[in-house]
């Protein structure tokens, strides 16, 4: 079955109406992931955008058709590990999945996630990286890019913004030598579907999926350009698509003539104050990280 037919026929596991922002590509990522994962899935939505928009639910109603719960911001992976251990203990297969933002993954929840990865807890951990705490009003996180405006790294009279580089978190997870690590993008849905299917096949440890999801509201994008902007992150090599299967790195999408990073960062508000020098800095970081990745792919 081709991807369109899969997406047309798989049941949507999320409430038909959830309060995500208009044009939110995380909603797209969530629905796509859950369609592929299917009904035999328990998933955790820690505090963050997808929790805030009601995926877990409201009072006695649920926001999803499969079991879903709010873990704490900092214990997503270990709470899920407990659930998975229960099902392994009774000998039943269930997909146990995290759908967590970058705050709950690269910052507060990193210890638990790293522990679960090291122990080989059999989870599928999906991190939607929108570069900050978008649900609580656009604060910076360890995943926010250098220079970005956030509400805790404000820009006043053209000065300010985040002073540090973004954590290369997919690489950090890959270095745990987990069985499967992949980066994904809402602009590359067939690639996403393929990677989810691979993650579901992993039976000897943690599968980590990192989705680069530009945030329409927090970043100041136009809602209809939500996918285009996500695509530009790939086409500029700013957030390259790759996977690591049992230690083997490979590029999922090779961009033949990468566009300058400038084309990506000038498309929305959070980088609009950047000077040429700042943009050059982001370009250099992109080049360095991409070269490192290429080297790993050649090994």
């Amino acid at each position: 079955m081709n991807v369109i037919d899969k997406l047309a026929t798989y049941e949507d596991q999320i409430s038909p109406g959830i309060s995500a922002c208009v044009g939110c590509n995380i909603e797209l990522t969530l629905r796509t992931c859950m369609k592929v994962l299917g009904p035999n899935t328990i998933f955790a939505i820690p505090p963050g955008c997808m929790g805030g928009v009601g995926v877990v639910g409201w009072d006695k109603q649920s926001g999803a058709k499969t079991p879903v719960f709010f873990p704490l911001l900092d214990n997503v992976a270990s709470m899920l590990a407990g659930i998975k251990l229960h099902y392994e203990h009774i000998g039943r297969h269930v997909n146990v999945v995290a759908f967590a933002g970058d705050g709950a993954s690269v910052d507060a929840g990193m210890q638990c996630l790293s522990g679960a990865a090291e122990r080989g807890d059999k989870l599928i951990y999906i991190c939607y990286d929108n570069e900050g705490y978008m649900n609580t009003g656009y604060q910076r996180s360890g995943s926010t890019s250098k220079g970005a405006w956030t509400s805790t790294t404000p820009v006043i009279d053209g000065h300010g913004g985040k002073k540090q580089n973004k954590k290369d978190f997919p690489m950090i997870m890959a270095m745990h030598d987990i069985p499967y690590m992949a980066t994904m993008s809402p602009a590359y849905i067939p690639d996403m579907v393929k990677k989810l299917e691979k993650a579901m096949q992993v039976d000897n440890g943690l599968a980590y999926l990192h989705v680069y999801n530009p945030c329409v509201t927090g970043w100041g994008c136009k809602s209809d350009e939500s996918i285009e902007v996500a695509r530009l992150a790939i086409e500029t090599n700013f957030a390259p698509l790759y996977e690591v299967e049992n230690g083997k790195f490979s590029m999922s999408v090779v961009v033949k003539n990468p566009k300058p990073v400038r084309e990506f960062v000038t498309r929305f508000k959070k980088f609009r104050h950047l000077t040429d020098e700042d943009i050059e800095g982001l370009q250099q970081l992109t080049d360095v990280r991409y070269a490192r990745l290429q080297k790993l792919c050649q090994e």
Binding site: V3, I4, D5, L7, A8, D12, I14, S15, P16, G17, I18, S19, A20, V22, G23, C24, N25, E27, L28, R31, G54, V56, G57, W58, D59, K60, Q61, S62, G63, A64, K65, P186, I189, S223, D224, E225, S226, I227, E228
Partner: protein, 90 residues
């Protein structure tokens, strides 16, 4: 003591929580089937799962929950989807 709820911890199982997001839109996507090449981009990228594939292999937009984001129109390579202003209902 009488309680309203039978539950002792917060759990949701009395039904799906649904928000009528169809009311959010100011513009709505309108598909011109004559320009459509049935590539499925609209279905693939619709964040609210409002595009359906029908029996003849073509696509239809369901307006119940469509938020009017315009992604389908923007992503359509053949410009087969137009965003039209929603008329005020009387």
């Amino acid at each position: 003591m009488e309680f309203i709820s039978e539950y002792i911890v917060p759990i949701g199982k009395e039904g799906l929580k649904i928000v009528d997001t169809g009311k959010w839109r100011t513009r709505k996507p309108v598909l011109d089937k004559s320009k459509c090449v049935k590539c499925g981009a609209c279905l693939m990228y619709c964040p609210v799962n409002s595009v359906r594939k029908v029996a003849d292999g073509s696509f239809e937009i369901n307006y119940d929950y469509c938020k009017g984001c315009g992604i389908c129109a923007h992503e359509c390579k053949k410009k087969a989807i137009a965003m039209e202003l929603v008329k005020e209902e009387k």
